[in-house]
Symmetry: C2
Subunit: 146 residues, 2 copies
DNA sequence: TACTCTATTGAGAATCATTCTAAGTTTAGG
DNA sequence: CCTAAACTTAGAATGATTCTCAATAGAGTA
């Protein structure tokens, strides 16, 4: 999905739930969509600051989106701030413990695992946050050279 | 593993890596081991406060254990503080989004998934943090009654 | 035992992401 | 236009975690 489409979808979802569309919310949604990776609140605050948008608004908007389930909080061990995932379907986030890069991996076995788990434990499944820490190929090479 | 054994193992691991064994570290390790669930730093601080142990020491010890890989940080969306897992083998943490209860689930498919992932992506695998949010059976029943 | 050097402890201050407050601004709908 | 409710935001407050640094304890040595 292209960034512009994605931004639209975020806004639409807000509107659909009774939130007004404002220039500030548009800017926040665009910043989220155009980030490309896994944005943190601080990064979005930074991105929309030139447009005179306050941090409270950024946090409010992000919190609203999270409550609606359109984005997903993703607290990490390697980072001091919470990052957000625009992809809320179950997938594995492979995090390089050296450079911090995050790679989204969709593995069919994960859905299977979750389905089995839900029936076994009897929980009604809501969301999943799967994080695997390792060293990415590039950082492995760098390590060898150093 | 019995709590007392577990506490011993934590201490031994510290010692094995050059950390001295002190009464304070013993107390922190015991508090971790006897907690039974997924302790937070604040809970351990509280638990050892009667013995006159400061929070800096608790945080230092926990950080040391985490660096050695004997315990694992487990940041959650539902909780304001980081919790720790004494079980560092890959497993699924099923978290009830209503009552906050955490259930450890060992699923053989997870190990399979991780192995395949490692070979696919080419990362050297270090640790995994798998969290599934849902509503536990008990909270589902309560919901019906209310 | 006395000495020295290093690791450890811990009270209190500092940090920093996030949340709250309260006052001003915008908007929808009549 | 009005008005009430939603929205924005600067700045203050919160609260977990980290840092500082002076005091203490322990291991090795003579």
């Amino acid at each position: 999905m292209r960034p512009e489409e994605r931004a639209q979808r975020l806004l639409q979802e807000l509107e659909r739930h009774g939130y007004r569309t404002t220039p500030q919310r548009e800017a926040v949604c665009q910043a989220l969509a155009y980030h490309g990776g896994h944005p943190s609140a601080a990064e979005i605050v930074e991105a929309v600051r030139p447009q005179g948008i306050g941090q409270a608004t950024v946090y409010n908007t992000i919190t609203a989106l999270e409550k609606l389930g359109v984005i997903q909080a993703m607290p990490l061990n390697t980072d001091e701030h919470t990052r957000y995932d625009l992809d809320t379907t179950p997938h594995v986030n492979v995090v390089c413990s050296t450079c911090g890069a995050i790679l989204d991996c969709h593995a069919p076995q994960l859905d299977l695992l979750l389905a089995q788990l839900a029936s076994q434990v009897g929980t009604s499944f809501e969301s999943a946050n799967v994080v695997v820490y390792g060293r990415c190929q590039q950082c492995q090479r760098t390590q060898l050279v150093a």
